[in-house]
Amino acid sequence: MSNGPSPVTFTYLTQTIEGFEGEPVAAALRRAGILELGRSGIDNSSRGAFCFMGSCQECRIRINGTVAYACKAPVFSNMTITPYAQS
């Protein structure tokens, strides 16, 4: 591989996370030890990426305010990630 992955940083809530451009957000967060991506709107229990295929809907987060799937949305430099808050 001529040029390897480019390291970037982004923000999760108030934390600075190191990741690589183009990798799924959930992967970068997981290496940073962040597994909980949100809470159930029904019982407030902790939830994270489960299916990694866009089925379970439990990995949803907000990237710069817009709802996205952490299991597939790619990391880019300086993005700001917040939970997809349900009620």
Binding site: G41, Q86, S87
Partner: protein
């Protein structure tokens, strides 16, 4: 009550055809009065209008003439533990109907006046007052009609509650069996034939409560009443933090908006999809989805953070004069109908109880609902 009959009688005292809120309530009160009752549905019970409706208990959208009935029905829902045996979670809230243009304000005032006359405690309030009642609404409104008697019910809890109550009352439930013919069996009541079953069901009396499917069956009893089938659209969002407390609508009645206890917001109002009584709802019309949701977002701007979870279509029935059909279909008082009630979920328990009372010999005033109004010979009060 412990009259549960475990042996199926050869001839039921009454067979209810159509297991929605109208038929099931009629069945329940007949069985509690000691009759042997069976209830038949072409699919599982409470899967048509009574299982998919918006659960608004509102006087803003009910036909003005039905307001007294809606008030009684609403009370029954709020006290469901008393007569149904379970609290189904109905919630009393205020209701606000809003006007955003001059024309809408005129309409709002005119409609509020008629409804007030029919007994709905509706008053016109200023935008400031409306906002103090419901802070989340669009401050651009011109006026609102406020009604203290409004509310909603989580529709999904109703079917199971009826199933348990009916079982306890001893009603025999026959599901997934469409009624194909009803023939009078020589003075011995009726023979009811079902799809996919060899065995016919026999009954002294029948009650038709098949909602959007009534037209053909009414014809079997000599009533040619065209039943219009509305294909109502509903939209529900994912749960979100509280954005409203009351039931919201607009002057022309084409929006119903509320947030349930779990945080999800239900958007309805009678926008139409495509469908028919054979296939059910077949297609959400994109423009109507967009229009309905835009209207909701206009009324409660904070909905812009919501996610649309599901859209569905439900079939509602309407007579040519948009008034219900409740009462006898034959002069010998052995066949009855209950259905086509506007905002019928609200008044359903009351309407079903009224018909049960009529069948059991009481004489409630059903004149306005008489099916014979569409033909020449009135039946009300007639005896064989």
């Amino acid at each position: 009550m412990t009259v549960a009959l475990h042996e199926k009688p050869a001839v039921y005292d009454a067979v209810i055809v159509g297991a929605g809120v109208m038929g099931a309530t009629t069945a329940l009160f007949l069985a509690r009065a000691g009759l042997n009752v069976a209830m038949i549905d072409r699919q599982d019970m409470f899967r048509a209008a009574s299982g998919v409706n918006a659960g608004t208990l509102t006087l803003h959208m009910t036909r003005a003439q039905l307001i007294p009935h809606a008030i009684r029905g609403r009370e029954m829902w709020l006290n469901s533990a008393e007569w149904l045996g379970e609290d189904v979670g109905a919630l009393a809230t205020p209701g606000l109907s809003m006007a955003f243009t001059e024309a809408e304000e005129d309409l709002l005032r005119q409609r509020a006046r008629v409804r007030q006359e029919m007994g709905a405690p509706i008053e016109i309030v200023s935008p400031e007052r409306a906002i103090s009642i419901e802070p989340g609404i669009n401050p651009g409104l011109r006026a609102a009609a406020y009604c203290a008697l409004d509310g909603h019910i989580p529709t999904y809890r109703v079917g199971g509650a009826y199933a348990r109550a009916l079982k306890q009352a001893g009603v025999t439930l026959i599901e997934n069996a469409a009624v194909e013919t009803i023939a009078s069996s020589g003075g011995q009541g009726y023979e009811i034939r079902l799809a996919n079953r060899n065995q016919a069901v026999h009954a002294h009396r029948v009650v038709l409560s098949t909602g959007a499917w009534l037209e053909k069956m009414l014809g079997w009893f000599g009533h040619d009443i065209p039943i219009r089938c509305l294909i109502n659209q509903l939209v529900v969002t994912e749960t979100l933090s509280p954005v409203m407390n009351s039931v919201l609508s607009i002057a022309n009645g084409l929006l119903s908006l509320k947030q349930f206890a779990n945080g999800s917001v239900l958007i309805g109002g009678g926008w139409q999809g495509e469908g028919n009584i054979r296939d059910g709802g077949t297609r959400v019309i994109p423009e109507n989805l967009q229009g309905n949701v835009r209207l909701a977002q206009h009324v409660v701007p904070q909905l812009n953070t919501a996610q649309i979870l599901r859209v569905w279509l439900g079939l509602e029935s309407e007579t040519p004069d948009a008034m219900p059909l409740i009462g006898p279909l034959t002069h010998d008082d052995n066949a009855f109908v209950v259905g086509c009630v506007h905002s019928g979920f609200t008044s359903g328990p009351y309407m079903g109880r009224l018909l049960a009372e009529r069948i059991l010999g009481a004489d409630p005033d059903l004149t306005a609902f008489d099916p014979y109004r569409f033909s020449s010979s009135p039946a009300t009060g007639s005896q064989p």
